[in-house]
């Protein structure tokens, strides 16, 4: 037992080692009055992550790697956010702790409740209701009107809708036969999805719209029987994209600053060019934590956390993060491959592509490979909504990684 506790072969022990190194670095960097505080939050965090990995090992018979990967990502995010702003860093620790709690709660709820695949209408209408609430009561933060505020507590409904959206599509394809009375049900789904995307567009949440579209497109690619529809979907989206480029300024700006941000370096291209400066100054190994100037980038702790990490920890860390996400996506696909329950198979697939596309959209955006559309980095960016929705998704993925069919059979007996 003791041997296992200190063995480097146990991944969670490696994580603790990384934590200790990072904590020492933060310790060296932070100003005097915060030292005690840093130490306490750090130790609390190490403890929470260690224990939760341990508990998971005991209660879940499924995949234990996805949570490990995520905890590694969490650490990198917290270290960076803490370095940028200790107050936000401490709050992020709270969000992460809450997120882990939500992870376990969603794991239990999703596992115990058995009728997830029969609530298609509820997912659809519930999402539309949430969208409407956002439109009416929404606050504009960072150019997108997708926040609801309760006092000082902000909340982004689209983060929750993302999961409802996957459930919606998954339950639709699971019960296809039930909906498919005249063989045209695929069109109805297409229309419903475009309503979702339309709402996101109205909120000027382009990153969200793109993400929803891509998730739908790949699920449709795998499950749609009427193959023409996929073509229609692509055509429709392309036309939509071109039309909106000419109609809406905020779409045009994204494209212009992607093609040549240097022309607009002091105005609309400011954010992306500052991001590029940060990455360029970091080099391959980074300046070291606390030694760079990632704080020059606006919105650095949320959407632009990646260039900050690249500046201070180098693009090798940046590439490592991309690899971690790729492994997470791969594990997700593996879960989908081996899940015998169709609904959870689609959900696992949907969540995996969601993680994959979301990181691709934002990483590609901040390094100017694709036009920049604001979206958070799952598990790394600062913020409660994103953290909680990502953990819910992870909890669901954890459920999907277990043998569900057996239990269902038992239920029928």
């Amino acid at each position: 037992m003791f041997k296992k506790l200190i063995s480097y072969r146990v991944p969670r022990n490696l994580l603790v080692l990384i934590d200790i190194i990072a904590l020492l670095l933060l310790f060296a960097h932070s100003t005097d009055e915060l030292d005690k505080f840093t130490l306490i939050t750090g130790i609390v965090l190490i403890f929470i992550i260690y224990v939760s990995n341990f508990i998971l090992l005991k209660i879940s018979s499924g995949d234990h790697y996805i949570f490990l990967i995520v905890t590694m990502l969490l650490k990198l995010g917290i270290i960076m956010i803490y370095r940028l702003n200790p107050k936000l860093g401490a709050r992020q620790v709270v969000w992460v702790s809450g997120g882990i709690l939500i992870f376990f709660i969603s794991y239990i709820i999703v596992k115990k409740f058995k009728k997830w695949d029969r609530l298609t209408l509820f997912y659809g209408l519930g999402s539309v209701a949430l969208f409407l609430i956002t439109l009416v009561f929404g606050k504009t933060i960072g150019g997108a009107r997708n926040w609801i505020k309760f006092g000082s507590f902000g909340f982004q409904p689209s983060e929750i809708i993302k999961i409802a959206f996957i459930f919606f599509i998954a339950s639709f394809y699971t019960n296809e036969k039930k909906f498919d009375k005249n063989g045209k049900s695929g069109y109805r789904l297409l229309i419903a999805v475009y309503v979702f995307i339309g709402f996101l567009f109205l909120q000027k949440d382009l990153g969200g719209a793109l993400l929803f579209y891509l998730i739908f497109l790949v699920i449709q690619y795998v499950y749609e029987k009427d193959r023409k529809l996929i073509l229609y979907n692509i055509l429709l989206a392309s036309i939509g994209a071109i039309v909106s480029y000419f109609l809406f300024d905020h779409v045009k700006i994204r494209v212009e600053t992607w093609i040549d941000p240097w022309r607009y370096v002091d105005n609309k291209g400011y954010q992306i060019t500052q991001s590029l400066f940060a990455i360029a100054n970091g080099g391959f190994f980074g300046t070291g934590i606390g030694l760079g100037h990632p704080d020059f980038i606006p919105e650095v702790h949320t959407d632009f956390i990646f260039p900050a990490i690249c500046e201070e920890m180098g693009i090798f860390t940046g590439i490592a993060i991309m690899m971690l996400f790729l492994i997470l996506v791969y594990r997700g696909f593996k879960i989908a491959f081996s899940q015998s329950d169709k609904f959870f198979r689609i959900v696992a697939f949907g969540i995996s592509v969601m993680f994959g596309f979301q990181t691709f959209i934002i990483f590609g955006g901040v390094i100017k490979m694709i036009p920049l559309t604001g979206i958070t980095v799952p598990f790394i960016s600062y913020g409660g909504s994103s953290m909680i929705s990502s953990f819910i998704a992870l909890g669901i993925l954890q459920v999907a990684s277990e043998e569900l069919h057996v239990e269902e059979v038992e239920e029928h007996e």
Partner: protein, 467 residues
């Protein structure tokens, strides 16, 4: 494998490709794009060092302070002691307008920035108030001032250098601007049609006029088969195009020396044609035309057209420094230096030494031969002809009592309608210590009349001052 799994696998492959493309792009960016964008003046990181480090001083060759920085309570101020006198050499350094001149080329040295390593960054945090290095120029402040005043406010440029080691003693470009008040006068400087920001000495491209005949003479001497004797009728016609001699004067039967002394256009036009396009082009390249001149400031490349499409009229015009030939005043000073230095063209040097704040020598810029323009024999032949030019030809206004001066005048026609007045030369001819090129832009006068006296005065002062 059923359809569903197969399709999912394809999506997985696509996903992997997306992530691999991210990684490839990021690595590509870091290796190829990053070095180019780091120095963008919108990268605020560049100015962080500026705030912590006292920018180094710029001194003339005798240690006179030309520019220095001073720390005030909330910022540092850069002072340029002699206002506009060094506007094109030292340049300026402002957060909102960027940097130019030596402030730009030697930015890292002035701020004492080296390859940034973690260890150095940490030491910077521990001890943030550093001092930058000082740079010592080859310029002589007094000579610089004399040279500027000798132009009397006219548009033009003067380059004075040591022909043997390449040190630049003075470099003038008029009109200029005052970097101290540049921010306030920005608009008027930018809108001025005479472009005060242009460093004419290194970036002004002018027709060289007859000063180019020095180059043509070298090309002629290098080809023993070319006939050096010619009967000048006062004009020269090639393919229906006539080149006039100055004032239409016929020089009669003359040789190369007489032709240079009298600056005979007809002679050199036919000489150039005899030598031919390729040969002449080769000589020009040895004189660093069509080539990048290595220097501490950005230099425009002088142009000598010698492509195959070149017509005979073009070659004839080029041989006398007209047509498509365009040179910088710096290049012409180097042409004079190369003749003075037995055909060895040395690299011009503006920064002599880089000194640490405590005065230790960090770097010394050494003399470097960048081109062997011709062999010493031919260089000396041309030198002697140039001495005759000043003694009894078009350049008599540059002659100094007891010192043998070599030179060549030029009056270059150009699209403005008013000719440029040129003079290039060096002294003393037997042991050259100073070489010069003077141009008065669109002055409408001849080089012998206006540019030669200016060169004379500066050469006297230079020989007296610089030991």
């Amino acid at each position: 494998m059923n359809k569903e799994v197969k399709r999912m696998a394809r999506v997985l492959i696509a996903m992997c490709l997306l992530f691999v493309s991210l990684i490839v792009y990021l690595s590509y960016f870091q290796v190829f794009t990053a070095p180019n964008i780091k120095d963008n003046s919108f990268n605020k990181r560049l100015w962080i060092d500026e705030e912590n480090i006292l920018r180094g001083m710029i001194l003339d060759r005798n240690g006179k302070t030309l520019a220095y920085s001073e720390k005030t309570e909330d910022s540092t101020i850069r002072h340029y002691n002699y206002g506009s006198l060094y506007s094109h050499i030292i340049g300026y350094s402002y957060r909102d307008y960027g940097k130019s001149g030596l402030e730009l080329t030697y930015n890292n040295e002035l701020l004492n920035l080296k390859e940034s390593t973690t260890l150095k960054e940490i030491s910077k945090i521990i001890k943030p108030d550093g001092e930058g290095n000082n740079i010592k120029l080859t310029l002589d402040h007094e000579l610089q001032e004399i040279a500027r005043n000798s132009l009397k406010g006219k548009k033009g440029s003067i380059v004075v250098m040591n022909p043997q080691n390449g040190e630049i003693y003075a470099m003038i470009s008029q009109p200029d601007f005052d970097p101290n008040t540049m921010k306030q006068n920005w608009q008027s400087i930018v809108e001025n049609p005479d472009s005060p920001f242009l460093n004419r000495a290194t970036s002004g491209l002018y027709a060289p006029g007859s000063t180019f005949k020095v180059v043509t003479a070298v090309a002629g001497l290098e080809n023993p088969n070319v006939s050096k004797s010619y009967d000048c009728k006062g004009s020269f016609t090639v393919e229906g195009y006539t080149l006039e001699d100055y004032g239409g004067k016929a020089h009669g039967k003359i040789g190369l020396e007489e032709a240079l002394v009298k600056s005979c256009n007809s002679y050199f036009a036919q000489l150039g044609l005899q030598v031919g396009r390729q040969e002449l082009g080769g000589v020009c390249e040895r004189f660093m035309m069509n080539k990048d001149i290595p220097f501490d400031l950005p230099v425009k490349t002088s142009k000598f057209a010698h492509g195959e499409e070149l017509k005979k009229t073009d070659i004839a015009a080029s041989s006398i420094g007209q047509g498509k030939t365009l040179v910088t005043p710096l290049n012409m000073a180097m042409v004079a230096s190369a003749i003075a230095n037995e055909g060895n063209m040395v690299k011009p040097i503006l920064v002599k030494e880089i000194l640490s704040p405590k005065g230790h020598l960090i770097r010394l810029n050494d003399t470097e031969t960048i081109s062997q323009v011709t062999d010493p024999l031919i260089a000396n032949q041309v030198k002697n002809m140039m001495v005759e030019v000043v003694k009894r030809g078009t350049g008599t206004n540059a002659s100094i009592g007891n010192i043998r001066v070599a030179g060549k005048t030029g009056t270059a026609e150009n699209p403005t309608g008013k000719s440029h007045a040129w003079f290039i030369g060096f002294a003393p001819a037997d042991e050259p210590k100073i070489a010069i090129s003077v141009i008065l832009e669109s002055d409408g006068t001849t080089g012998g009349k206006t540019a030669a006296p200016i060169a004379r005065q500066i050469m006297i002062e230079g020989l007296n001052r610089i030991k």
